[in-house]
């Protein structure tokens, strides 16, 4: 599966430019993390990739064919978990998945439903009405429906919201396994999730691509730009972005990113989160 974005633009009817001239190539097998602050254009990009929206400029090619012409084929190979979704409350989890399996045209929906229920650890809730499930369990049903039919292109928008830490770890490894032979696009605010499993990161801000590369490349790019200092020593120079403040017995210890670290700051080894925040604070591609 290969998705190519060529000079992709999206402007909403109100005039808001959600995406501007994106050029990207997404190819399987890979697990791609999509990062960016709120309003960066991540959800718009996902909607465009799933044919829920049509671009106002540029094009998307799916395996070399314009997406709009191969929409039906794309949908048959697509697993999509949007950020804000609902379920039919009157159905059981298994019935809902069976329903979605049939919508996707699966030939043996029963087997597929059992497999995805197992994958999201919901076997014991298979016959429970969806209205009785907790928020995390509903989220897992959402993930399960995206996995139905072993789609070759998986798009997850904030999939681990509402899941406890143990479940998050479970799903991270699941996504990682999935990405061994598929194209998986994972949008999240939780840097930890992408750091652990994503082989490639795309950072969007204000509708533009700020970074596209491996997590290591992003971290490397932030080297020398992350420092720590005592708050009492700080002079609060311009261009210094505090990323963390920790109260200690000696006072408040600050962690910050900047193009040029001040002298009172001691350089630190950047984490992915530091690197991401550095990138966003710069507001321009590295």
């Amino acid at each position: 599966m290969k998705m190519e974005l060529q000079d992709l633009c999206m402007t909403y009817p109100g005039g808001k430019q959600a995406l501007q001239h994106l050029n990207l190539s997404l190819e399987s097998p890979s697990l791609i993390g999509l990062l960016g602050p709120n309003g960066a254009g991540k959800s718009t990009l996902m909607k465009l990739l799933t044919a829920a929206l049509l671009p106002t400029g540029g094009s998307i090619l799916a395996d070399g064919q314009p997406l709009i012409k191969t929409e039906r084929q794309l949908k048959s190979r697509l697993g999509y978990l949007p950020q804000d979704f609902g379920l039919f409350d009157e159905l059981t989890a298994a019935q809902f998945l069976d329903y979605m399996a049939a919508l996707k045209g699966l030939r043996s929906p029963g087997k597929a439903v059992r497999e995805v229920l197992k994958a999201v650890s919901l076997e014991e809730k298979a016959k429970s009405k969806i209205r009785t499930l907790s928020g995390g369990q509903r989220q897992r049903v959402g993930i399960a429906q995206a996995l139905l039919g072993e789609p070759s292109f998986l798009v997850f928008d904030e999939p681990t919201v509402g899941l406890d830490p143990e479940e998050r770890i479970h799903f991270r490894s699941l996504f990682s396994r999935m990405a061994q032979d598929r194209l998986v696009l994972l949008s999240t605010h939780i840097i930890e999730d992408v750091q652990a499993v994503c082989g490639r990161l795309i950072v969007l801000n204000q509708g533009r691509v700020l970074f596209s590369g491996t997590p290591e490349e992003l971290i490397q790019a932030a080297a020398g730009h992350v420092g720590a200092f005592w708050e009492k020593d700080a002079a609060w120079e311009q261009g210094l972005h505090i990323t963390a403040r920790v109260n200690t017995s000696h006072g408040v210890r600050c962690r910050a990113v900047a193009d040029r670290l001040p002298a009172y700051a001691r350089e630190e080894e950047p984490s992915l989160e530091d690197a991401y925040l550095y990138l966003i604070s710069r507001g321009a591609a590295l």
Binding site: A52, Y80, F85, F88, L103
Partner: protein
């Protein structure tokens, strides 16, 4: 294959919703409204009361309930945000189609459930005249098709607006239009079809066809609108117009919508059931045509071939004229709208003709130019589906042509001559009609029809002769009984389906008793001819009429429910007597329309005469107990009635309640108070014999054609009494 799977899936999901079952359950129960609250068919046949009304009520309620369910179901996906998952799997257009199909399936499942549920109830209520075909057609057409119309209209409203609240308002307004403003327009009342009566004893195909036509017209219109709304389903984040532009790229989609709308519009404009007769009831231009000078009609013939399956008719008519004017002239005929004149010849040569657009009293005018010539034979061929008078558009069904019944009146039988005088023999006419062997032909008049040819295809040709420009012919699956009474031969014709009811009510005995009693006490019916009278039970028509040698009995007067009405007689046989007495009091003598609170009507003398016959048949004690005591009890209660004593409170009630109470009080006044007054008049006038003489005098009085009604004052004058003399208070 995938479509079928998706449909089954959507249906299964729909059936798992509690709201679906609530809508289905309420719909299945809603025919009960037709037995109590919502009774639009006001005829008193069993099928009107216990089949048409429940089915229409079920359709109205079901249409609304399924409309509401549709809005809820369509809104649910977006309300619960499950649509984002569904749209990622299949196109929202495909999903909307599946939902529509599932809702249709749910509606038809509900219809099936309703029919099963109500089958034993209807069967029990309707009794001997229950028919499976009537039941099936009534529920399919009067109820069933309302459900998809409700679904389509509400789905279209939602797909256009994408807002549940706005859709509810639009759907409610659309339904309300049908139930109010459009209720008397047979083509527009999509939810509550205009069905005033269903026949128990004969067929109902004409009215069923009319309802089916109305419903299919709406179905085409609403399907067209639904497709347009379907094309407006929001996709790709676009608005209504953007989505429409996108979805309409496949030209076949908008083309299908426009085609359906065009079909519907054409069907509406070119409906074949009702004519365009002048609504001015005083217009008499066809009857006031001047006669052609020097021309007489010396005879006419008609060969008529009804197609009982199609409900249509074809025929050939021939007219013989004698022209002494020596000039060309123009013959005018009344033609039933709906019939096409296909060929007109004079002495074997084609001649020009025209049929007017103007129509009056269910006739259009055919004009034929006839060249000068002393002996002229004019022949014409005509065929078509007869239209009914638009003034009676809410009471369709009279022009029934089926294998069980037909009534062809005047121009519906053959074109009616308008502007030529008869010769000294009148308009001698010979009519031949070919019908299925099961049908008995009954000319409405003194002539008799006889079979001339038995065809191999199971049809028979009947021939009869009469005299006149028009004529009425009844035919159907009739039972014929010949009853001798007081030197009079009564040919009594009633529908075979009604045989059990008629026999149980002792119809033949009742006819004999009534004819003997009334003839002896009041005199012979003026329309008896040559010692013979045909009593013909007609399909429900809202009344009867008589001519020389024949009189009509409306089937609504002989239903099992009516025959068990104890206000008219103590038993079915006596109610039968009551209805037959109306031949003397009601048809033989017409009554003026009384004041709203007057007890005077045909019912008073009819009930009184029924009592006298019962007294003669069963003795004084019986008549006292079952008639006089019953009247007295009802009248005593009447005078104690709160609203009778305090009429000012009646005016404060809602109009519907007022009508209900007024109707009930009117009933007591006419059926109980008046007979008691007549009984009192009898005592004051000198006894039964004196009253018989008075009534005989009234029955045989010279009637003023301009005011032929027997009034209460006539009665009082004949008795030599005043209103006050007959006060019961």
């Amino acid at each position: 294959m995938k479509t079928i799977r998706l449909f089954r899936l959507e249906l299964r999901r729909l059936l798992q919703s509690r709201l679906t079952w609530l809508a289905a359950g309420l719909t299945a129960l809603s025919p009960a409204l037709g037995l109590s609250l919502y009774k639009t068919a006001d005829a008193s046949t069993m099928l009107s009361m216990y089949l048409a009304n429940p089915a229409i009520a079920g359709g109205a309620a079901g249409g609304i309930l399924f409309g509401l369910l549709t809005i809820f179901e369509l809104d649910r996906a977006s309300r619960s945000r499950v649509d984002v998952l569904l749209d990622a799997a299949v196109s929202p257009l495909c999903m909307a189609l599946q939902r529509l199909m599932a809702l249709f399936a749910g509606a038809f499942f509900t219809l099936g459930l309703t029919m099963l549920l109500w089958l034993p109830v209807s069967w029990r209520l309707i009794g001997a005249v229950f028919g499976a075909a009537d039941y099936l057609l009534a529920y399919l057409l009067l109820m069933g098709l309302a459900l998809p119309l409700g679904i389509l209209s509400s789905a279209a409203a939602y797909q256009f607006t994408r807002r549940a609240d706005l859709s509810l308002i639009l759907f409610a307004a659309f339904a309300a239009l049908s139930l109010t403003v459009w209720a008397d327009n047979w083509q527009l009342c999509w939810l509550n079809p205009c069905v005033w009566a269903l026949s128990d004893d004969f067929s109902n195909f004409r009215i069923f066809r009319s309802v089916a036509y109305m419903r299919l017209t709406w179905l085409a219109a609403l399907f067209g609108i639904w497709i347009l709304s379907w094309l407006c389903i929001r996709q790709y984040g676009k608005g209504i117009l953007g989505s429409l532009r996108r979805s309409a790229r496949r030209a076949c989609r908008p083309a299908a919508a426009l085609l359906l709308l065009a079909v519907s519009g054409t069907a509406y404009a070119a409906q074949p059931f009702v004519d365009r007769s002048n609504l001015d009831e005083t217009a008499m231009s066809f009857y006031e045509m001047p006669y052609a000078e020097g021309i007489v009609c010396t005879g006419r013939s008609a060969w008529v071939f009804p197609d009982v399956k199609a409900g249509s008719l074809s025929g050939r008519a021939a007219y013989e004229f004698q022209n002494t004017s020596g000039q060309d002239w123009e013959a005018a005929f009344g033609v039933t709208p709906g019939y096409a004149i296909t060929k007109v010849q004079v002495n074997g040569e084609k001649v020009p003709f025209s049929v007017s657009d103007y129509q009056e009293y269910n006739e259009a005018m055919l004009r034929v130019s006839i060249p000068a010539g002393e002996q002229v034979e004019l022949t014409m061929e005509y065929a078509g589906f007869p239209k009914e008078n638009r003034m009676m558009s809410t009471m369709q069904g009279r022009a029934e042509i089926s294998g069980a019944y037909l009534c062809l009146e005047n121009a519906a039988l053959s074109p009616r001559l308008l502007n030529v005088l008869p010769d000294e023999n009148g308009y001698p006419a010979a009519v031949e009609i070919t019908l299925p062997a099961s049908m008995l032909v009954i000319p409405f008049g003194s002539s008799d029809a006889r079979v001339t040819v038995e065809h191999e295809d199971g049809t028979r040709t009947w021939r009869y002769e009469e005299n006149g420009t028009g004529g009425i012919l009844y035919a159907g699956d009739y039972v014929r009984e010949e009853i001798e009474a007081d030197g009079f031969t009564i040919e009594f014709y009633y529908g075979r389906r009604h045989q059990a009811v008629m026999e149980a009510a002792g119809a033949a005995d009742a006819v004999k008793a009534v004819v003997e009693y009334c003839t002896e006490h009041y005199g012979r019916l003026s329309f008896g001819s040559g010692g013979k009278l045909k009593l013909i039970q007609s399909r429900v028509s809202g009344g009867g009429y008589a001519t020389d040698g024949a009189s009509l009995l409306d089937e609504a007067d002989f239903t099992a429910a009516n025959l068990s009405n104890t206000d008219k007689g103590a038993g079915a046989g006596e109610v039968m007597i009551h209805e037959l007495v109306h031949q003397w009091w009601g048809l033989g003598n017409m009554f003026d329309v009384p004041e709203p609170d007057s007890p005077w009507s045909a019912e008073g003398l009819t009930v009184y005469t029924t009592y006298r016959i019962a007294k003669e048949l069963y003795g004084e004690a019986y008549a006292q107990e079952h008639y006089v005591d019953q009247w007295q009890q009802a009248v005593d209660d009447y005078y104690l009635n709160f609203y009778v004593r305090n009429p000012e409170y009646l005016e404060m009630l809602p109009e519907e309640k007022q009508l209900e109470i007024t109707g009930s009080l009117t009933y007591v006044r006419q059926y109980c108070e008046m007979p008691l007054k007549i009984l009192k008049a009898e005592a004051l006038a000198g006894g039964e014999e004196a009253m018989d003489q008075i009534l005989k005098g009234l029955f045989n009085r010279e009637i003023d054609p301009m005011n032929p009604y027997l009034t209460y004052q006539d009665f009082l004058d004949a008795c030599g009494l005043t209103k006050e003399d007959l006060s019961l208070a």
